[in-house]
C-alpha cells in the first residue's frame, strides 16, 4: 500500500485517481506514525521548490524521510526535493542525491517552462521502466531541471540540454515528469514502483 506524503504542496487528486485506475491502494501520511502503515512512499509536489521544502520542513517529517528504508518515489517537485540544492528560491534540499536543481532560463534557447510530451532514454537498467519501451513519451511541466549524474540517472531527457528525467539511488527514486498524466506508460511506471 502506497502512502502519499501530505505536506500541502499541490493538488494530489490526479495522483490518487491514477493509483485508483491501476488498482493500487493508497493513503495519506500526515504524521511520523503514518509511515508505519505503508510499504511504499510517494512524495508529490507542484509549484515552487523552495516553498515546498519549507512546507516539508514544517511538517517535521524530514528526518523520518531521510531514514526510510522503504521504496520512496518523488514526483516533479517531489523529485527536486531529493537533490542537494535548488535555484528556485536558492534553497537547500534533502540532499539524498548529490545533484542540483537548476533553472532552464538563460541556459537554453527553447521556451520555458518545458511543457508537454517528451521522450526519455532509459539508463542504468532502471526497474522504474520495466515493460515500458525505450524512448517513450511522458508529460512534463517544469521550469527547473535536475543535473544528469552518470551513476544515479535512470532516464535522460533532452530539451536543448540533457537533464535527469528520472533518478535512483538505493531505495530512493524520482521522476521529473508526471506519471499520473502520462497515459498508459505513466500508469505502468506507477505500477512498477508499487511492486518494488
Amino acid at each position: 500500500m502506497i502512502g502519499i506524503v501530505n505536506y500541502g504542496a499541490g493538488n494530489i487528486f490526479s495522483l490518487t485517481a491514477a493509483l485508483d485506475r491501476i488498482q493500487v491502494e493508497h493513503g495519506m501520511i500526515n504524521t511520523q506514525e503514518d509511515f508505519e502503515k505503508y510499504s511504499h512512499i510517494i512524495i508529490p509536489g507542484v509549484g515552487h521548490a523552495g516553498a515546498a521544502m519549507k512546507k516539508l520542513q514544517d511538517t517535521g517529517l524530514v528526518d523520518t524521510i531521510l531514514a526510510l528504508q522503504k521504496p520512496v518515489l518523488g514526483i516533479c517537485v517531489g523529485m527536486q526535493l531529493m537533490t542537494s540544492f535548488s535555484e528556485e528560491g536558492n534553497a537547500d534540499m534533502l540532499n539524498i542525491f548529490p545533484v542540483k536543481t537548476l533553472h532552464f532560463d538563460k541556459r537554453i534557447g527553447a521556451k520555458v517552462p518545458h511543457m508537454g510530451w517528451n521522450s526519455v532514454r532509459e539508463e542504468n537498467n532502471s526497474p522504474l521502466f520495466t515493460d515500458i519501451p525505450d524512448n517513450s513519451y511522458f508529460y512534463f511541466v517544469h521550469s527547473y531541471f535536475i543535473e544528469r549524474e552518470e551513476s544515479t540517472v535512470a532516464a535522460t531527457c533532452s530539451y536543448d540540454l540533457d537533464f535527469a528525467a528520472a533518478f535512483q539511488k538505493n531505495n530512493f527514486y524520482g521522476v521529473q515528469f508526471h506519471p499520473e498524466k502520462s497515459g498508459k506508460f505513466g500508469e505502468q511506471l506507477l505500477l512498477n514502483f508499487s511492486k518494488f
Binding site: N11, F13, S14, A17, A18, D20, R21, V46, G47, H48, A110, K111, V112, P113, H114, M115, G116, W117, N118, S119, Y137, Y139, V141, S143, S158, Y159, H178, E180, K181, S182, G183, K184, G186, E187
Partner: protein, 250 residues
C-alpha cells in the same frame, strides 16, 4: 524531442457535450467523460473542455465533470468558461483540472492572471484570446468574437505573458468555422514575440492544415473541435501524416 501536441476541444453545456459525434464504438456521444476517454485512447495529447453554461447555478455540474474526467482520463486537461475569480480556479484545481483557461475575465481584470499564476503556478494558467482583423489590425474580441475591444491582440498577449500566463490559446475568429486552415501569418508573428507555448485554434479543416501550422508558425500545439468530433480527422491518421512530414509527435 518535445512533441507537438494535438488537442481536441469539447464544448460542454449542462454537463453534456454540445456537438454531435459519430465514433463507431461510442455508447453515448453526449457524455464528455466517455468522449474524453476515447480521445485519449486515440492518442490525443491533451484535452480542453469549454463550459458554455458557465453560470453560478450550473457550477456544480462542471465540478462533477472535472472530477469524473480526472478519475478516468490519463492525459492532461484544461477547463475554461466562467472562471472569474480565484475561488473558481481553486475549486477546479482541487477537483483535478491540470489547467484553467481564462478569456474575458482576464481582459476585464488583468490582475487575475498575476494572482492565479502566483497562487497556483504559471503552468496552471492558460490565457485564451479571441482575435479578429479590423481595418488591417488584429483586435481582442470578447463573447465569442462578437464584442470588439480596443486592445491590439499582440500587445495583449505580451502583457498576458509578462503577468504570468503559462500558455496562450489563440483563436482567429476570422478563420474559425471556415475549415480553410489556421491563421499562420498571425500565429507566426505572435510566436516570434513570446517565450511561452502557443496553441493554434480556428480554421482546421484537413490534415494538411495541421502540417502547415506546425511548419509555418512553429506553434507548440494545435486545437480543433468539429473535425475531430465528426470523425473527419482521426487522431492516429493525423499523427501519421505529421510524422511523415518530419514533425515530432507522440
Amino acid at each position: 524531442m518535445l512533441a507537438k501536441r494535438i488537442i481536441p476541444c469539447l464544448d460542454v453545456k449542462d454537463g453534456r457535450t454540445v456537438k454531435g459525434v459519430n465514433f463507431v464504438d461510442l455508447r453515448d456521444a453526449g457524455d464528455p467523460v466517455e468522449l474524453a476517454w476515447q480521445y485519449s485512447e486515440q492518442g490525443a495529447d491533451e484535452l480542453v473542455f469549454l463550459d458554455i453554461t458557465a453560470t453560478h447555478e450550473k457550477r456544480k455540474t462542471t465540478i462533477d465533470l472535472v472530477k469524473a474526467v480526472a478519475r478516468q482520463v490519463n492525459i492532461p486537461f484544461t477547463i475554461g468558461g466562467g472562471i472569474n475569480e480565484m475561488r473558481d480556479a481553486e475549486i477546479l484545481l482541487n477537483s483535478g483540472a491540470d489547467k484553467i483557461s481564462i478569456n474575458s475575465a482576464a481582459v476585464r481584470n488583468p490582475q487575475l492572471i498575476d494572482d492565479l499564476a502566483k497562487a497556483f503556478g504559471t503552468q496552471f494558467v492558460v490565457v485564451a484570446v479571441d482575435t479578429r482583423l479590423v481595418d488591417g489590425k488584429n483586435y481582442v474580441h470578447l463573447r465569442g468574437g462578437r464584442d470588439k475591444t480596443d486592445i491590439e491582440t499582440e500587445n495583449w498577449i505580451k502583457e498576458a505573458e509578462s503577468r504570468g500566463a503559462g500558455e496562450i490559446l489563440l483563436t482567429s475568429m476570422d478563420h474559425d468555422g471556415t475549415k480553410n486552415g489556421f491563421d499562420n501569418g498571425l500565429l507566426k508573428k505572435i510566436n516570434d514575440t513570446i517565450n511561452i507555448p502557443l496553441i493554434a485554434s480556428g480554421g482546421a479543416g484537413n490534415q494538411q492544415h495541421f502540417v502547415d501550422t506546425f511548419q509555418q508558425a512553429n506553434v507548440d500545439a494545435a486545437l480543433a473541435a468539429s473535425v475531430f468530433h465528426y470523425g473527419e480527422i482521426l487522431i492516429p491518421d493525423l499523427k501519421e501524416t505529421l510524422r511523415k512530414n518530419g514533425i515530432v509527435v507522440r
